[in-house]
Point group: C2
């Protein structure tokens, strides 16, 4: 198994992000205070560099095909406390201080529903789903 | 902005995973005890269903193109304490009780290197990088 891995990428100290066919890595943002996962998004090379240089989270939106500073419309920015990269360098984890809410629906985290399987059927239930802001106002500009 | 979103998928209680072109969703596994991100991997429909049904993490390996029960070779299984889904249902977050180590390199977490930018150059440093097991033994079977 280990033969198929790039040992320099896994054991080295050089940052060599492994971008996918669209030029992206996955980014997981967690709340530095609580450990909760706030969101999963993507970064291209420029978003990574801007995040590292500025200490604020930048992403690449696949739906809008555009670089995006988190909070540029809503004011709900993310200050990066720490960035880590995973073994094969195709994912980064940022611990952030979130201003307001991470999710465009107004919730603190995008993960506001629990998945539960009962007797063969799978359903969702809301958890920590209070809205911190009204998305129709925050994005009306 | 909100017009472009599927409101039933975002606000409803029906589990409608949004698989990508390869039939996968992203899965973030965090340590239920510490909140640390252990790994980022992928699940297909079958992996999701098996994870929910058994309470143990199953993934789909893109490199091996195969369903995979976490720990099936190494014994380092993940018991799922809670599963959540994000707003657009293309990512799940599982909080797990990790037996041993999540990373195939032997570390507890795949995120054992910090990314730092100093004076324009970006480098990595090891953090929480002690090996919990010897991967050459765990995968020698």
């Amino acid at each position: 198994m280990s033969n198929s891995h790039d040992s320099e990428r896994e054991e080295g100290l050089s940052f060599q992000p492994k971008f996918d066919a669209s030029g992206l890595v996955t980014c997981v943002a967690t709340d530095a205070a609580t450990g909760d996962v706030l969101m999963v998004a993507h970064m291209n090379d420029e978003a990574l560099r801007k995040t590292i240089a500025t200490g604020e989270a930048w992403y690449f939106s696949r739906s809008r095909n555009a670089l995006w500073r988190k909070g540029e419309s809503s004011g709900h920015t993310q200050r990066v406390v720490e960035m880590r990269v995973d073994c094969d360098q195709d994912a980064v984890w940022i611990r952030v201080e979130q201003v307001g809410a991470a999710c465009h629906t107004g919730r603190r985290s995008c993960f506001y529903r629990k998945v539960e399987g009962e007797g063969g059927s799978i359903g969702l239930s809301f958890v920590d789903a209070d809205k911190q802001f009204d998305p129709t106002r925050a994005y009306s500009k």
